[in-house]
């Protein structure tokens, strides 16, 4: 589990993990509705992380705990 920050750019969500200095585009997010948001997120660099599904944050950027499932570190 690690703290990540999700922000929005022109191309969509951006993933940032301060501890590892990973900043990358999020290519897909499992749930992306106001009621249910999160789940498995896939990064452009191949990494896959998991955010506990929750209601969508009112404002981005948003800090959240995420679990690494697969891919580059």
């Amino acid at each position: 589990m690690a703290n990540i920050m999700i922000r929005r750019s022109a191309e969509g969500y951006v993933f940032y993990m301060p501890k590892r200095d990973i900043e990358d585009q999020i290519t897909s997010m499992e749930f992306d509705t106001p009621e249910k948001w999160g789940g498995e997120i896939k990064l452009k660099n191949g990494g896959i992380y998991f955010i506990e599904p929750q209601s969508a944050p009112e404002r981005l950027p948003y800090s959240v705990r995420a679990k690494r499932i697969d891919g580059v570190e």
């Binding site: 920050m5 922000r7 940032y16 301060p18 200095d21 990973i22 900043e23 990358d24 452009k44 660099n45 404002r59 950027p61 948003y62 800090s63 580059v72």
Partner: protein, 490 residues
């Protein structure tokens, strides 16, 4: 014209690393790469922000240097106490030439060394009492200070002093912010962690101090982040922003004050110059206060024009017109500078090895002068910096991370650059080798180099260094003897 092809550069890296033992060679090889613009992420080709190899000469600093020297030091109306033995504070004092306006010792304190001067008894019995006494003395002697920060040196962490408790107590007593900063030098692998710790302490102790207080806002408020006013850099940047119609609320932290920092949450846009040392606080402000941030680059007219337009794009037409007006106003002067110096500098090769931002930021300024950067590297960058660097650099240029003394010497010998830009620790080595050298940390006691005014000085300085006749007169005595001996024999 590329100095070397991709294969040649790769061969050079291998040749230079040849002298190391097997394990060290493997480790160091990960810190070198040949640039490939096509790559998206640097992750697979270069390793950065790792512990330096024991036994090699590294140019890195420590967390204390990153916090006290870089981020906290230049805040002019706060007193930064170097808490611990006296050397760290004394040898780091005033070295970065962070200019400021004010009367030193009365209302500004950057150039004075405040230290608790730890002795054996303080290590044995703890230094909290001494710290309390020191702060009380500060209040009597320098009543105009706006706050105090306690910058821990190594022993504080080792003996476990509770500087937080002392700070809290004293903050209540003197009714000013007192910030404990846990930036002991042994933390992290370089000064980079010091920047992070300093950012976090600003976030925790300073940033929200004025939340909810009235502040007269305008739609054109911005803050300059990560400009430390070295040789007046922040001033040269600030006038351009003001000329295009923006209001600069805060300077972080060159010539900055505590009040400016506390007012920063009210701005519309954070302008970030040194990404490495202040991205943390920018990201925090984006999350907490919804303030967007933008990286900009004020080195060389091409990049300045790009940056001014990028900044203006966040505002209305008035500012956009303002940006065009500023660019138009300075273009003739800049063309004159380029016309004067480009013929003298065209085609010269430059190698850089600086801290966390300049290895990529100054590339544009050199290119404006027709010079080519053939090698670059950072002391303490992270991978996100290399991601950005790869786009700014030419293909097949050499990139090195945390380069060692031996490696840099050998690279210079092999690539024969016409100019090297690095710091004081490298300066005299290359002077003795007879290679023109400019310090790019302190601008070699010149400056400012930011902004349009700065570029004129930059171009002049590069010309003065590079075309100085003195380099031709330098020859090591033993080499000279050989030459004359040969002549005599013949």
């Amino acid at each position: 014209m590329a100095a070397l092809t991709r294969e040649e550069t790769q061969a050079l890296i291998e040749e230079v690393l040849e002298v190391y033992p097997e394990k060290a060679k493997k480790d160091r090889a990960k810190h070198m790469m040949v640039n490939d613009k096509a790559l998206e992420s640097s992750k697979k080709c270069i390793t950065s922000n790792r512990k330096s190899l024991p036994g090699v000469m590294t140019m890195r600093g420590c967390a204390y240097a990153g916090s006290k020297g870089v981020v906290w030091g230049p805040i002019k109306d706060m007193i930064s106490i170097s808490h611990g033995p006296i050397g760290c504070g004394q040898y780091a004092r005033g070295g970065r030439r962070n200019y400021y306006v004010g009367t030193t010792g009365v209302d500004t304190f950057c150039e004075i060394n405040f230290t608790s001067d730890f002795q054996e008894k303080d290590i044995v019995f703890g230094g909290d009492k001494k710290l309390t006494k020191l702060m009380e003395e500060i209040e009597v002697l320098f009543p105009l200070n706006k706050g105090i920060s306690v910058q821990s040196e190594c022993p504080i962490g080792l003996i476990g002093d509770d500087i937080e408790a002392v700070s809290k107590k004293m903050a209540a007593q003197i009714n000013k912010p007192v910030v404990p900063v846990r930036c002991e030098g042994f933390r992290g692998v370089s000064q980079s962690l010091g920047h992070h710790i300093a950012n976090d302490s600003v976030r925790d102790w300073i940033l929200s101090n004025r939340d909810g207080q009235a502040f007269e806002k305008t739609p054109y408020d911005v803050a300059i982040l990560g400009d430390y006013n070295i040789g007046g850099d922040a001033w040269a940047s600030r006038i351009l922003l003001e000329e295009m119609g923006l209001r600069v609320v805060a300077q972080w932290s060159g010539d900055g004050t505590l009040a400016e920092m506390e007012n920063t949450p009210n701005v519309k846009l954070n302008l970030l110059h040194c990404y490495r040392s202040m991205n943390y606080i920018s990201r925090h402000m984006e999350e907490k206060y919804g303030i967007p941030w933008l990286e900009y680059n004020f080195f060389g007219p091409t990049k300045i024009a790009e940056s001014l337009r990028a900044i203006a794009s966040h505002f209305d037409d008035r500012i956009k017109e303002g940006a065009e007006r500023v660019i138009e106003k300075y273009t003739p002067a800049m063309n004159a500078v380029i016309a004067k110096f480009k013929p003298r500098l065209q085609g010269k090769k430059v190698m850089l090895y600086v801290g966390g931002l300049r290895p990529r930021h100054v590339v544009g300024a050199y290119e404006d002068l027709g010079m080519e950067v053939v090698g670059t590297g950072y002391e303490f960058a992270h991978n996100d910096d290399y991601d950005r660097t790869m786009k700014d650099m030419g293909d097949a240029t050499l990139i090195y991370d945390d380069v060692t003394g031996h490696e840099l010497d050998e690279f210079v010998k092999a690539m024969k650059p016409d100019l090297i830009g690095s710091g004081i620790k490298e300066k005299y080595v290359f002077h003795k080798m007879g290679v023109p050298f400019r310090q790019l940390h302190s601008w070699d006691y010149s400056g400012p180099y930011h902004g349009y005014d700065g570029f004129a000085i930059f171009a002049k300085d590069m010309d003065l260094t590079l075309n100085n006749p003195v380099w031709k007169m330098l020859k090591a005595p033993w080499l000279k003897d050989e030459a004359t001996a040969e002549k005599k024999a013949a």
